[in-house]
Symmetry: C2
Subunit: 471 residues, 2 copies
């Protein structure tokens, strides 16, 4: 005889509790979630929860949902267990903003139209080339252990050559291989800045959607932008020198897509040199230019070692590689390398060897040409759909590279709960509010990830939702 | 005409300075180092440095070596550059202990006999199997991007199955994939503990050689061990409950090789349950048993979710994979997964796929049998050499698993500068002092990495050095 369905739920929850996976004090999933999980009616879930409550294992608490209150051992009269849940909220590092956590989760839902993802479409993934490179790596493989603190030397040499083509002339000893640009920021936050430091940055900025600097006690100070980039004359250091740093994404800025002009770059460098304000240049979108090659990086004009330069293969090849780099003064790179060793003992050997092959074989540059063609088509598709469906509701600038369009919903239309409404209709968007408090009327739309058809459908849906939200 | 040799050195240093790789205030390499680097006499180096001093680019400072004082631009009358060097010493996270940094660097020197490395020999590396797995991964590969926050689901399923064989029954949702065990500790330190928390741990302990907890403001409290493991009756919580945690390596402890006995495990768990003291169980050496299967993990007897369990493939397969896992209460794992996303957006897809194939194909268990046979031979070699050459100078216990022998030099012999002397003779050892202040008379010898012959030669050399040091 088959067990009644509610019993399956009871058994599942009892199992989770008795194994210690759901500890005392932790919240169990919502009724809605459980109903979906077991494909039953809400009433079946309620029957199951009532039985567990009768057993004394769970309890509904006002405003907190349903909480585990006992496990089979505490019921047997033993003492209560460690309260990890308290620890979960105590640590030094802040949790992600809840909307960002929600987006992180929703991004692995394949049923959604993903107009949020800052990553290239699987359609652009160079599967054949990746296979041939894996083959080569496999053939040339020798036994491997931990890599050098700064990363595999051949990879650093390949990165050095790559950077030379972008105007940056540095030796491998000034390069640290990291597991993506975010890790570079994490290492900088724990290794180079004091508690109480200020981080100047463009507003809005991708950095506002993270808690990497704030968690370590640094303050973000937003500087407004215009069409040429960050407004240098708005930077105003209040604290003493040496207590501040500037973070910028000069090339195809995230989320706005802005390209900092050459004279603005010079102005910024000049200012930072005069004020002894070190710069973190996040340049992960550089290779995604669509129309013309962007002005050279700030780092290429940095003769004082005051720019820490960050690059990555995540945006152009695949984030699954987890390979990026930081370039800077050797003493700084040594310090960051030591911290990297202390955080994870270096990046994956496979990923480093694969990245090295991509860069040194010339396949990477070939791949970029394909990417640019694809981005051109996708941008055109997105702009056509925007013009067709959204021009009464919103305005935007045409980005000359990267894959983001920063869309401003006209003040006449309410955007509150736009994110939730879109999500409930199967459309994932990044609300502007995660990039700056004052960007509530904006959304960041990515044309890099979804299929051409999804881009069209998604933008149409978006127009309908804006119309409806306003009703 | 060829440039004079000193000119090569001058050009090299000028280039480093003008590119900003060596910033103002940073120390240039020692004369000895430069002489070695360019394969010249010390006098040639001095000629070069004198020219650079005359140019005003560098300056000797008492007690600090030679410092960069200007660069070509500051000499032209422009303002001085950002002082990154100040920042290098300011950050929140502490640098590694200098001996540990030295060891990290020396470990990539292939000319040394490595009796220090806590990693398996290249001779034991399963190259053919690794190639066939890469082949499989390549064939099955589909376009990939970011992985799920907790790691690839198939890998977590494979880890769940693997753990079931070690007595731990948990579902994939309670498992977080990390880039090695150290990253797990890093995430715990920034995510679960408050500043001012106490971390109880065995003394000596591997953890003393790291700064991961101390950097975040936690205090290490060493608890003595006996042959059965940590002495539970010596744990004494002074702070309030919820402000402490216990870190232990119960199975083939690093550095002592001690195996915690079953009844000691029960006693420890019982104590920690009563005192509500959460446990971090670092179990990365479990699969390296040589004589008999070790007692089951603490986690297997943890019905309260109070044990956070850490495992890894680094010690048994290859650290280059950078794949480990943390297992614990789901709410804790969720929190750590969010922090992992904030530190590096997940581990390498390649590494995850390769690890998944190793575990799920059964090749991993086969490989472990080879490893155990090899370790048995290596242990025998090491013990024979120790008995032959070192028995007048030192004592040790025979480890029943792992690859460390914890050697106590008899009090009659001085060990000060033993590490440096050994290194200058081409022998790399880990001095006991990095694992506990009071372990100055110990050294940790690894028989896992060096070749059989190197083990013999290294131990003989060691005996000679102890004899000489004492002279």
């Amino acid at each position: 005889m088959q067990k009644p369905k509610y019993q399956l739920i009871v058994d599942f929850i009892k199992d989770k509790i008795s194994k210690g996976e759901w500890t005392i004090g932790s919240r169990i999933p919502s009724q809605r979630h459980l109903a979906k999980m077991f494909d039953v009616n809400r009433s079946t879930v309620i029957t199951a929860l009532e039985e567990l409550m009768a057993d004394g294992l769970i309890e509904g608490k006002a405003g907190m949902g349903t909480i585990v209150t006992n496990n089979t051992w505490t019921l047997m009269g033993e003492q209560s267990s460690t309260n990890w849940n308290e620890k979960v909220t105590l640590g030094i590092h802040k949790p992600s903003i809840s909307t960002v956590q929600e987006i992180n989760e929703a991004e692995s839902n394949h049923h959604l139209i993903q107009l949020s993802k800052g990553e290239l479409s699987p359609e652009i993934f160079p599967l054949e080339e990746m296979r041939s490179i894996l083959q080569k790596v496999s053939n040339q493989m020798t036994p491997f252990g931990y890599e050098e603190p700064k990363g595999n030397l051949k990879l650093r040499q390949a990165i050095s050559d790559y950077l030379k083509n972008r105007g940056i002339d540095v030796s491998p000893s000034s390069i640290l291989v990291v597991s993506g640009a975010l890790q570079a920021l994490h290492l900088i936050s724990i290794g180079l800045l004091q508690r109480g430091s200020s981080v100047f940055l463009e507003v809005p900025s991708y950095l506002y959607s993270l808690t990497v600097f704030q968690s370590m006690g640094m303050e973000l100070k937003g500087i407004p932008m215009d069409k040429k980039g960050i407004k240098v004359d708005s930077i105003y250091q209040t604290k003493g020198k040496g207590k501040s740093i500037l973070y910028t994404i000069p090339t195809f800025h995230n989320p706005t897509g802005t390209l900092m002009q050459k004279n603005r770059r010079e102005e910024l460098l000049e200012y930072c040199k005069r004020e002894q304000l070190p710069i973190i240049e996040d340049d992960v979108y550089r290779d995604l230019w669509i129309d013309t090659i962007p002005p050279e990086p700030l780092k290429s004009m940095d003769y004082y070692g005051s720019v820490l330069y960050i690059g990555s293969l995540s945006k152009t090849l695949s984030p699954g590689l987890r390979i990026g780099w930081v370039v800077g003064a050797e003493s700084v790179i040594n310090r960051l390398a030591d911290l990297k060793m202390q955080s994870d003992y270096g990046s994956s050997t496979f990923s480093q060897l694969v990245a090295m092959e991509w860069l040194s074989s010339g396949l990477y540059d070939q791949h970029l040409e394909t990417v640019r063609e694809q981005l051109k088509v996708r941008r055109r598709t997105a702009l056509e759909a925007l013009n067709k469906h959204l021009s009464s509701y919103a305005t935007w600038e045409v980005p000359t590279g990267g894959f983001f369009i920063w869309i401003k919903i006209k003040p006449a239309f309410k955007v509150k709960r736009l994110f939730d409404k879109a999500l409930s209709k199967g459309l994932l968007l990044n609300p502007g509010s995660i990039y700056a408090e004052q960007s509530g009327q904006f959304i960041r739309l990515s044309f890099g990830f979804a299929s051409i058809n999804e881009i069209k459908v998604g933008i149409f849906q978006l127009s309908q939702i804006i119309k409806d939200v306003d009703d």
